[in-house]
């Protein structure tokens, strides 16, 4: 695809990004759901593919029958209607019962995965996400580190109507922020979600999970990034939240645990310094 080509031409950041993101997405990247880089995203991908194949199989059978009927029983081919074919108890029972069985087959794997999705125990880090119109706020609970994350300036200028800037010239147009969320890889991370004004939803497709951030309440979900998949992952707000709903991206930089710890303590010092300066 042209986008991938464009990315790979860019030397440093984009090159790393593309190499990291592409193997996971392979050829399907613009047609199918990403497999993602977390336990949950893979589970979700698997169930998505299972459903897709089942639906395709059913489609072949039903559409096949319709097409056969349309070809074989044409009046122009001299077909004469069998006016007595009005009921067939066995057939009707079969196409009521078989779908029920298929549906049960589809539902069972999802139960187990749902239990897994809802189980937030054993987490190693809690991050509180607050949605604002129209930016995100991240707080590493218990560390005093908290910051805002807004649409990157370059995109923000280019997206104005009549800016005269071709979005294609902006790297990661609308998918870049001034300060990304940094997360450790290989750690189960508990995300607490809330909002300040209206409902938002935090979503990075590569992590598989999406949950609403509702003003006045906290919601909870967990995500993880595979230990061997550090990198930059992008998403955006997924619940209509007003005029600039399309312009509050999410960027997550996943770092190995040690690097993350170093980053967090440097942030803590910075926060401490700012606090000291203001007091």
């Amino acid at each position: 695809m042209s986008i991938a080509k464009r990315k790979s031409k860019r030397p440093i950041v984009a090159g790393v990004l593309a190499t990291l993101a592409l193997p996971a997405r392979a050829d399907w990247s613009l047609l199918n759901m990403p497999k993602g880089v977390s336990t949950l995203s893979r589970e979700i991908y698997d169930i998505h593919m299972l459903m897709l194949w089942i639906c395709l199989a059913i489609a072949v059978v039903t559409f096949g029958a319709m097409i056969v009927a349309m070809i074989r029983f044409r009046k122009s081919r001299g077909a004469v209607a069998d006016q007595k074919l009005l009921h067939n108890a066995r057939l009707e029972a079969a196409w009521t019962i078989i779908p029920v069985l298929i549906l049960i087959g589809m539902a069972i794997p999802s139960v187990e995965k749902l239990v897994m999705i809802e189980d937030t125990s054993g987490s190693g880090l809690t991050v509180k996400v607050t949605g604002h119109q129209w930016y995100w706020q991240y707080e590493y609970l218990g560390s005093g580190v908290s910051f805002y994350s807004r649409l990157a300036r370059e995109s923000d200028v280019a997206r104005q109507r009549g800016s005269g800037i071709d979005p294609a010239t902006i790297e990661n147009y609308l998918r870049d922020v001034d300060k990304p969320l940094v997360l450790p890889t290989g750690v189960k991370i508990r995300m607490l979600l809330t909002a300040n004004d209206v409902i938002h939803a935090w979503w990075v497709p590569d992590f598989g999970m999406k949950r609403d951030a509702i003003p006045g309440f906290i919601n909870e979900m967990w995500i993880s990034v595979d230990a061997d998949k550090p990198g930059t992952y992008r998403g955006q707000c997924a619940e209509l939240c007003g005029a600039d709903h399309g312009f509050m991206p999410i960027v997550v930089v996943a770092k190995p645990k040690a690097e993350f710890d170093a980053w967090l303590s440097s942030q803590k010092q910075e926060a401490g310094a700012t606090l000291a300066a203001t007091e």
Binding site: L86, L114, A238
Partner: protein, 516 residues
């Protein structure tokens, strides 16, 4: 009884209580709204043609998506089904008119004024509602001066729909010709009887929900405000308790239409009539217990998620029964492919695709990825456009000769069909890819990787939109003249509506027909 015609000129349309006139007014109104809603869609797809903001501001874009949905749902699809009900139910059950003709007229004009109000919100400071047709608080409470007008227009639409529904029920229950038992009734009338019950059950719920919004906005109540002990999610529950049956209100009459057309052009009665009736009734029942599948991301208890997943999947069973029965109706039939049949067949295939994506959306873990993406947009447009709208077009092509007394231009109709059927897929199929690749819905601008498929989708939209002008032209042409249609019109007409002359006289079945 002396035959007396309608008054002449505009007075006829303002004062008529004739079911055929009111049906015509509903249908024309619906076509007008289809064009207006289509114009909004045109703005949306133009803006999304390529990345960057070219034509409109994000705030106006949101007004477009919101009004597109409200106009299409409440202005185009629902009134079209009501128009068909008005025209066809009395003809199908052998009644002289609808049971409550004055209320019938009243409900039409309420609807017309409701839309005058709703569309006038574009002129208000702050513009039209921009919170999506789902009107979720707290966002909807940021609407400007348009807010009370939008709410009031929803109240009027609701009142109009309820009146229409009462009229259908009373007509069907009381005015069937002697011998027309319920289980002899044509499936279109059956589907509308059940739809009418759905309407009566859920429109008041919607009215209640928006009234609570109104008091939250003006009287400082806190139904949906956490600060006062309320909960924004409560609105979503109440809204979707209305909203899910609402989608069946739009699709059940379509099921009825397809169940009329497929037998006619297969020259063979419907397969499994009782099962078809039972399937509609079960779908209607199930529609009340699946609402929370629209909101799997709000953070629901595990048991709730499982319940709503399972109940939603269960809907696939009666829907499957319908699809299989339609297929079986064609089996060993004698098929011909006139325009109504073409649209009904496209419905069969494309609605089923929408059904498959619906099944996928029902599974919670996967829905956590799909939710609020273009995958959802693709899904509900598949069930609504090549679903409901195609069925409505099929109905127009099926009954137009009966209404006007003229045969329409079959070649033009087939051209319209093929253009519509091709472009509707160019328009909506790529949206599955966009959603899966991570494009959220309701955004005016997008990241570069979504550019290609958006452009394809927009091209499909322009093609589909322009093709509909053929439809309008064809109808105008057919009203003005054409080859005379016989009473039966089609090769294998079945049902009472084909026993009256074409065009159907102003008064029909003043003496109850004989049913065998």
């Amino acid at each position: 009884m002396a035959e007396h015609g309608p008054p002449k000129g505009v007075v006829r349309w303002l004062t008529t209580t004739n079911h055929k006139d009111i049906g015509t007014m509903y249908l024309v109104f619906s076509l007008l709204m289809f064009m207006i809603g289509g114009a909004f869609a045109f703005v949306i797809r133009s803006e999304l043609f390529q990345p960057g903001l070219q034509f409109v501001d994000p705030a106006f874009f949101n007004q477009m998506t919101t009004m597109h949905a409200l106009v299409m749902v409440f202005g185009a699809v629902m009134p079209a089904t009501v128009g068909l009900a008005n025209w066809m139910i009395p003809l199908q059950i052998g009644a002289a008119d609808m049971a409550l003709p004055r209320m019938n007229l009243f409900s039409f004009w309420l609807l017309a004024f409701a839309f005058l109000l709703l569309l006038s919100t574009f002129l208000m400071p702050g513009g039209a509602p921009a919170s999506g047709w789902t009107l979720y608080p707290p966002l909807v409470l940021q609407t400007g001066q348009a807010f009370p007008l939008a709410i009031f227009s929803i109240h009027l639409m609701g009142a109009s729909s309820i009146m229409g529904a009462i009229n259908v029920i009373v007509t069907i229950v009381n005015m069937r010709a002697p011998g027309m038992t319920l289980l002899k009734m044509p499936l279109f009338s059956w589907s509308w009887l059940i739809t009418a019950y759905l309407l009566i059950a859920v429109m008041p719920v919607f009215a209640g929900a928006v009234t609570m919004l109104l008091t939250d906005y003006y009287f400082h109540t806190s139904f949906f405000n956490a600060a006062g002990g309320g909960d924004p999610v409560l609105f979503q529950h109440v809204f979707w308790f209305f909203g899910h049956p609402e989608v069946y209100i739009m699709i059940l009459p379509a099921f009825g239409i397809v169940s009329e057309i497929i037998p006619t052009f297969s020259r063979k009665p419907i397969f499994g009539y009782e099962a078809m009736v039972f399937a509609i009734a079960s779908i209607a029942f199930l529609s009340f217990i699946v609402w929370a599948h629209h909101m799997f991301t709000v953070g629901m208890p595990l048991a709730g998620q499982l319940f709503f997943t399972l109940s939603t999947m269960l809907i696939a069973v009666p829907t499957g029964v319908k699809i299989f029965n339609w297929t079986m109706t064609m089996w060993r039939g004698s098929l011909s492919f006139e325009p109504p049949m073409l649209f009904a067949l496209a419905f069969l295939f494309l609605f089923t695709i929408g059904g498959f994506s619906g099944l996928m959306l029902a599974i919670v873990p996967a829905d956590l990825q799909y939710h609020d993406t273009y995958f959802v947009v693709a899904h509900f447009h598949y069930v609504l456009v090549p679903g409901s709208v195609f069925a409505l077009m099929a109905a127009v092509y099926y009954w137009l000769p009966k209404w006007t007394g003229h045969l329409y231009d079959m070649t033009l109709a087939k051209v319209h069909f093929w253009l519509s059927a091709i472009f509707v897929n160019v328009l909506f199929f790529p949206q599955h890819f966009l959603g899966l690749a991570g494009m959220p819905r309701r955004i005016p601008d997008y990241a570069s990787q979504f550019a290609d498929w958006n452009m394809v989708s927009s091209i499909g939209a322009f093609g589909f939109g322009l093709s509909q002008l053929l439809f309008v032209w064809l109808i105008v042409k057919c009203v003005r003249g054409g080859e005379r249609a016989t009473a039966g019109v089609w090769d294998w007409p079945h049902g009472l509506e084909w026993t009256v002359p074409s065009p159907a006289p102003y008064h029909t079945f003043e003496k109850s027909p004989e049913i065998h």
